[in-house]
């Protein structure tokens, strides 16, 4: 049953995918085409990356509300400053720097993560507005062709790399320590895990993931917007919980969060093809979130009962 809770993300994704196929087929009388899959892939990628970063933080028992600001800032910088591949490291460095600031406040300042990142959220958002006061900017087509090519599934490569990156991370000592801290920070410290350093690293990685998400965002939309990050705050948290990562830390995986992100994207399509009155859409999205997580809680309860 522990396994069921851990695999919640895959199950929800599978169920949503089946529902998607069903409503699509009944609505249009055919199955989705390559175009549909490609556009799902490309529009989901930014959330996938933010969700990976968020899941790392949640695995240590924290939460990162500042992802909204970090994504906004990196989107702004990407749209304004990136003229070729050589500037991409700059964006990644800025995202990581945002994460480093969070990491310092959380690990060294010993401020609760939700508060630390609540405070840095407006700071990063303000910086984004400063960089890009009006939506605009651009991204060089050669970058777009490689990242989110509208005609070729290049996004699959990056999705694969992201998942592979996670699997590699999971196989480092750092990865093991992330779980150790989330499971019981006090005990982890007692067995010699450098809790502060790992916590710091996790927030830095979350910042890096936000930067990656921002680059993909600009690549799909071809321009920047300083308010772009705001929706990612709550959707990334939703993706993480739907993906079966426990809020108490220590349980779940970033791949689950990726599945959760994909499921959330598919829900939009399910609602679309099911012809739900647009005014009621939020209702179903809210229910989806609560029910998905309730299934997870139920699985845990059953496990405890056995």
């Amino acid at each position: 049953m522990r396994d069921l809770a851990g695999r919640l993300g895959y199950l929800v994704l599978a169920a949503t995918a089946v529902a998607y196929l069903a409503v699509y087929a009944t609505g249009l009388g055919r199955l989705p085409t390559a175009f549909d899959y490609l556009s799902i892939l490309n529009t989901t990628l930014p959330l996938v990356f933010v969700a990976i970063g968020q899941s790392l933080v949640v695995l240590t028992g924290g939460i990162d509300l500042s992802v909204g600001g970090t994504v906004s800032l990196c989107v702004a910088v990407t749209a304004v400053a990136v003229t070729g591949f050589e500037q991409l490291p700059l964006v990644l460095a800025i995202g990581t720097a945002c994460g480093v600031v969070n990491g310092l406040i959380v690990a060294a300042g010993r401020i609760a993560p939700i508060l630390a990142t609540l405070a840095t959220l407006p700071i990063f958002t303000g910086a984004a507005l400063w960089v890009l006061p009006v939506p605009g900017g651009s991204i060089p087509p050669q970058i777009r062709a490689v990242l989110t090519n509208p005609d070729l599934p290049t996004g699959l490569i990056w999705l694969g790399l992201a998942v592979a990156g996670w699997l590699v991370l999971r196989r480092t000592r750092f990865g093991m320590r992330v779980y150790a801290i989330g499971s019981d920070a006090g005990a982890a410290r007692a067995v010699g895990v450098p809790v502060e350093r790992v916590t710091f690293g996790v927030y830095a990685l979350s910042g890096l993931c936000c930067a990656l998400a921002a680059v993909f965002y600009v690549s799909t939309t071809t321009a920047g917007d300083a308010n772009a990050g705001a929706p990612f705050i709550l959707t990334s948290i939703a993706a993480v919980v739907v993906g079966g990562v426990a809020f108490t830390g220590g349980r779940g995986s970033a791949v689950g969060a990726v599945a959760g992100a994909a499921a959330l994207a598919l829900v939009i399509d399910v609602l679309f093809f099911a012809g739900i009155d647009p005014l009621y859409q939020a209702l179903f999205q809210g229910l989806f979130l609560v029910v998905a997580v309730m299934l997870g809680s139920l699985a845990m309860l059953l496990r405890r009962a056995t």
Partner: protein
């Protein structure tokens, strides 16, 4: 329980379905003349009155001749989330619609998917918060002129001398920036005018009221107020603080116009310019006309309806029975009107009884 395998199987099924399907060209460029056109409205956020009216008039227009017979309409909201809106537009492409009318969550955020729609021969018309993508058509008012005209009105009323407050909109959006830019140009050109405060009302009456209330006590005498949106809130704040009413230049909220018309007291002197909600209907007509090849493939800029305290007409440009937050310019007026709509179209989205809608796209 092998749920994991089950899940994998479902995903594989999904992918298999992807490979099994040959990519299909979706929409033909010229539909058969007898077929109903499919035109969809993709709106970003339904969270304010203007957007609701905009959808309502769209809905009403679709239920009125000639659209009733010619067009099959659908409406989608994306909750101000760019990726949701992009998903919806992608799904519209899959559905094979003929035209998409967009009010965007981000002027830049939909460029990618709009380009894809264009590539498939779909006519894309964006309005209000328009899309940058070059292939798409736009229907809009001139936002810089909006800012300028309101500012000029204030300057003229004050005789070129006095203290002015600017209440701006949602920072980081194109419309806010353009309006502010226009206004600042005019104020800067008049050395007698001092801008004593600039703050954001978020295009929301309640927010504008709160921000103004908090500001006012620290402000010197204010002679004119330029408001990007939420004007009635600003007036209420002045009233609550018992400050003399300055000259207002603002949006087309019914509440503002009620003050201007003296329906609410105190009567204020002002100019009200609207971003008309019927932009959605004009966009619908443009899309229809372009698809039917009745109109060149061109963007249009429509003049915005302007009223002053003197020119207001109850029942036409100000509505005593409707809420303050209502946008009073849901219909155009006058002999050269782009279109005439009835009240219930805006309030309930129901068609105006026994009326055929004629939309004048102008000569452009």
């Amino acid at each position: 329980m092998n749920l994991h395998r089950l899940a994998s199987a479902a995903v594989i099924l999904l992918l298999a379905a992807a490979c099994g399907q040959a990519p299909q060209s979706t929409a033909g460029n010229t539909p058969a003349p007898d077929r109903k056109l499919k035109i969809a409205l993709s709106n970003s956020f339904i969270g304010n009155q203007w957007r609701v009216e905009m959808e309502n008039v769209f809905k009403a227009a679709c239920a009125m001749p000639p659209y009733l017979a010619q067009v099959e309409c659908s409406i989608y909201n994306a909750g101000n989330d760019v990726s949701t809106q992009s998903r919806q537009i992608a799904n519209l492409i899959s559905q094979g619609v003929d035209g998409i009318v967009i009010n965007a969550a981000s002027t830049s955020g939909l460029n990618g998917v709009v380009q894809q729609a264009c590539d498939r021969g779909i006519v894309v018309v964006s309005f209000d918060n328009t899309v940058d993508a070059a292939c798409g058509l736009t229907v809009n008012t001139d936002q810089i002129a909006f800012g300028k005209q309101l500012a000029q009105f204030i300057v003229d009323q004050l005789g070129g001398k006095g203290n002015v407050v600017m209440v701006t909109g949602v920072a980081g959006t194109g419309a806010d920036n353009d309006r502010n830019k226009g206004a600042k140009e005019v104020f800067a050109a008049n050395p007698g005018i001092t801008v004593v405060a600039t703050y954001s009302g978020m295009w929301d009456s309640a927010t504008a009221q709160r921000a103004t209330s908090a500001q006012l006590p620290a402000l010197p005498q204010v002679d004119g107020v330029w408001v990007s949106g939420g004007t009635d809130g600003v007036i209420k704040a002045f009233g609550a603080a018992k400050r003399p009413m300055p000259v207002f230049g603002g949006e087309a909220e019914n509440g503002f116009r009620k003050y201007m018309a003296g329906i609410l007291t105190p009567k204020v002197t002002g100019m009200s310019i609207g971003q008309p909600p019927y932009l959605s209907v004009i966009s619908l007509e443009l899309a229809r006309a372009v698809i039917k090849k009745e109109h060149p493939r061109e963007s249009i800029t429509i003049p915005f309806p302007v009223v002053t305290s003197e020119s207001l007409k109850p029942g036409e440009t100000v509505f005593p029975d409707l809420p303050d937050s209502f946008f009073a310019d849901f219909t155009d007026s006058g002999p050269d009107a782009a279109l005439i709509l009835c009240q219930e179209a805006a309030t309930d989205g129901t068609p105006c009884p026994g009326k055929t809608l004629t939309v004048n796209l102008g000569t452009s």
